[in-house]
């Protein structure tokens, strides 16, 4: 079934509005940046135009006024003052409501915004020197063919053509040569394509924006007509007066310019070769750039379905590998190896398709920081880095709420007000830095503020008061920090609208752990706090270590595995009653999985201990056998197993049996609780 075009508009408008918000916030800091003004104008222009195409009339009418205001800014007739930015941000929220839930959009709010914009325009006279166009007009050849079912989906090409005409001198010709005769016509499909020649001051991106909502299905070609004119052969071929092959055949009879120049000793041969290499490079670069610019929009559910199917393929492939291992047929083995190579490639490609840059998420927090810092009367600047770091789209979607909690906490409790900061010898403006980076199979997302830092004594007092720890208990600073993740824990002396109710950090921890990630805190009193979220690259397929305990096989996520050591029968006896190992001077507690899983079979004589870590804590898991690495396609456990704490999911092995995936975070906590880590003496 084809996507509903109105739904496509809603989704794409949401992206445009997000882009508008980012641009407005950047413009507030750099009001003279003409590129930002142009981007804001383009976003408004596209929302207006596409709104009209999909019959969002209220959106079109409202956005029109704002577009006018930004057109004035573009022409230097209006200043992008903080008041205008504030109104434009409110307008962006209003447009979002008009699109997504019109019933909730208040006409009063819309009128207030438009009145504000009108007042600004009335008060801000035209600047004495109107902006000068940066470059002269260019002529573009545009050819577009709509997707066959575009008309059926409600796309109307006439407003697209109107919009092109509004940009400059424009000639439109409908090519009806592909329209079949009436008896053969499927009247719902579009058989017409259009050739447009447009001379405009607008850049190519503005022309492309006209097609933004139909681009996925349309065949669109936009070429700039060469200013110096085409070669004779090209014009004749383009006009259909002579086939390209004929031109090539006749041209081949001519000697190449380079050959003639060498023959005449006008240019040395190596100089010709160098020039040809440059020509080839430029041509390939242009082709590469064109290929890179090509992109397709795909509904998220199709990607999820693709990922599921690739998961099944990986499982089937593992089964095939196991069956083929027992075969002597060299031909079958060769095919199986080729299948493995292909399925691994497909898996990697599919996983990379699902990843999106985290910058899209970071951008959302600029508005949050702006609005909250004003509400709290603080000056805070949000800086970001590593926006290009890619993460699975599901992880990114589910990171929003935890990051909102962390940033709110930083703003409210971490960063003091201006007077406090100046008294502490810090700049008046506080800073929150949001960063992302890769670390092996994980992505680290950090939120760092330059605020007061965590107050260990206050955390201890509050924890003792709430009975979370015994009075005077000996806890490391790191362990004390972990207490802020307890449900309902808050050291804030006053509850504000922003935070301080103790709802937040426990939610953050739970949300991150549900993504198979972990949270770490580092803080320096008086200097600030850094919260690090460690997240897996993907939620669908992981590298696992397959182990055997009794008769059962289990998967340990490889990213958590630090090392494997042997536990001989003598060592086992020596350790009985003291479940910890000395690993290079550190005492690491271990859990005998045979006991946890109540295995009745006798233990292997040489058991292995797999040392796993979660955050800074480590624990050993005693298993009977380490089988090896395993591509693990994660399957969720059913609702019936929701209360099973030792496992985070299941996977299907090559022989079709099921192996449970160990929940390392939970096992580490369990191990640490049983045997607190101590330094070996």
């Amino acid at each position: 079934m084809t996507a509903d075009p109105r739904q496509v508009f809603i989704e794409e408008a949401a992206e445009l509005l997000a882009q508008l918000e980012t641009t407005l916030l950047a413009l507030e800091n750099s009001p003279s940046d003409q590129e930002l003004v142009a981007t804001a104008f383009r976003a408004l222009h596209t929302i207006k135009g596409s709104g009209a195409m999909f019959r969002f009339d209220a959106v079109t009418a409202f956005t029109h006024h704002l577009e006018n205001a930004f057109d004035r800014v573009r022409r230097g007739e209006l200043t992008p003052s903080p008041t205008l930015i504030g109104l434009a941000l409110a307008a962006k929220d209003h447009v979002r409501l008009l699109i997504e839930s019109p019933a909730q959009a208040s006409a009063g709010e819309g009128d207030r915004i438009l009145a504000g914009v009108a007042a600004l325009i009335a008060g801000d006279g035209p600047s004495p020197e109107p902006a000068v166009e940066a470059s002269g007009p260019a002529t573009w050849r545009i050819r577009f063919t709509l997707g066959g079912d575009a008309l059926e989906r409600g796309v109307n090409p006439l407003p697209l053509l109107d919009e092109l005409r509004s940009m400059g001198k424009c000639t439109v010709v409908a090519d009806t040569s592909a329209v079949p005769e009436l008896a053969d016509l499927d009247p719902y499909r579009c058989h017409v394509h259009w050739d447009v020649v447009l001379t405009t001051q607008q850049p190519r991106s503005v022309i492309e924006d006209v097609f933004i909502f139909v681009m996925d299905d349309a065949d669109l070609r936009i070429e700039e007509a060469a200013a110096e004119g085409e070669r004779l052969g090209d014009i004749l071929v383009r006009r259909g007066d002579v086939p390209a092959q004929t031109i090539e055949a006749i041209a081949a009879k001519q000697e190449k310019l380079g050959t003639l120049l060498v023959k005449e000793h006008a240019v040395p041969e190596d100089r010709i070769r160098s020039a040809l290499a440059e020509q080839k490079h430029v041509r390939e670069a242009a082709q590469g750039a064109a290929a890179a610019a090509a992109s397709v929009r795909v509904p998220a559910e199709r990607l999820d379905s693709l990922m599921d199917q690739v998961g099944e393929l990986v499982i089937a492939q593992a089964r095939l590998k196991q069956v083929v291992a027992a075969s002597d047929d060299a031909q079958v083995k060769a095919i199986a190896e080729e299948m493995e190579r292909l399925s691994n490639g497909l898996r990697d490609t599919t996983m990379s398709i699902r990843t999106v840059p985290i910058g899209t998420l970071f951008d959302r927090f600029r508005r949050l920081v702006r609005d909250l810092s004003r509400e709290l009367g603080k000056e805070v600047r949000l800086t970001t880095s590593g926006e290009e770091t890619e993460l699975d789209k599901t992880v990114i979607e589910r990171l929003n709420d935890p990051l909102v909690h962390i940033i709110r906490n930083s703003l409210d409790h971490g960063i003091g007000d201006t007077a406090q900061r100046i008294a502490a010898g810090k700049p008046a403006q506080g800073q929150i830095h949001l960063s992302a980076s890769h670390s092996g199979a994980q992505v680290l997302v950090r939120v760092r503020d330059d605020g007061r830092g965590l107050n260990v004594e206050r955390i201890r007092a509050k924890a003792e008061e709430r009975g979370l720890i015994a009075p005077g208990a000996s806890l490391s600073t790191h362990e004390l920090y972990q207490l802020i993740f307890a449900a309902g824990f808050s050291t804030a002396s006053e509850v504000t609208a922003v935070s301080g109710r103790g709802v937040g950090m426990d939610v953050v921890k739970r949300a991150i752990e549900s993504l198979r990630g972990s949270v770490e805190i580092d803080s320096v009193p008086g200097q600030g706090t850094e919260i690090t979220l460690k997240l897996p690259l993907t939620l669908a397929i992981i590298d696992g270590l397959l182990v055997r305990v009794g008769q059962g096989r289990y998967v340990i996520p490889l990213s958590a595995v630090e090392e494997c050591v042997e536990l001989s029968a003598e060592d086992d006896l020596r350790h009985s009653g003291r479940n910890f190992l000395n690993i290079r001077g550190d005492l690491v507690p271990f859990i005998r999985l045979r006991q946890s899983f109540r295995s009745a079979l006798p233990a292997d004589p040489y058991q292995k201990v797999v040392i796993v870590s979660a955050g800074e804590r480590r624990v050993g898991l005693v298993v009977d056998q380490v089988i090896g690495d395993h591509q693990t396609v994660i399957k969720s456990l059913s609702g019936l197993h929701a209360d099973v704490e030792d496992f985070s999911g299941a996977t299907i092995l090559g022989d079709g049996t099921v192996a449970l995936i160990l929940d390392v975070g939970h096992l580490v906590l369990q191990g640490q609780a049983a045997e607190p880590t101590r330094q070996a003496s």
Partner: protein, 107 residues
């Protein structure tokens, strides 16, 4: 395919758009089966889209291949002319043969 010589009139009114396109196509097919000459009257159409224009082009083409004629009752005007002009149907190819500028006498 020797049809009757009397022209058959097909009049469209109201929304000449994708919503009514199946019925419109059927009307034109029936008329072409009935006669060698079909006269299309668009004087009462209130809304015209590309689907409708494409159907007229297809009817014109089908008629020409069968040695028949599909023509407009009057030069394009009003909503029909607007849609033809906006869609670039007034220049070139079969569209021009049916709607072409030289046939437009006024709006």
């Amino acid at each position: 395919l020797a049809g009757k010589t009397t022209a058959v009139n097909v009049a469209f009114f109201g929304a000449a758009t994708i919503q009514n396109i199946t019925a419109g196509r059927q009307q034109l097919l029936s008329a072409l089966a009935e006669s060698d000459e079909v006269v299309v009257d668009c004087g009462a159409v209130e809304d015209v889209d590309v689907c409708f224009l494409q159907m007229l082009v297809a009817a014109h083409l089908g008629a020409r291949q069968a040695g028949k004629v599909v023509r407009l009752a009057a030069a394009p005007a009003g909503r029909l002319f607007d849609a033809l002009e906006r869609g670039g149907f007034l220049d070139g190819g079969d569209a021009e043969a049916l709607f072409g500028r030289r046939k437009v006498l006024g709006r």
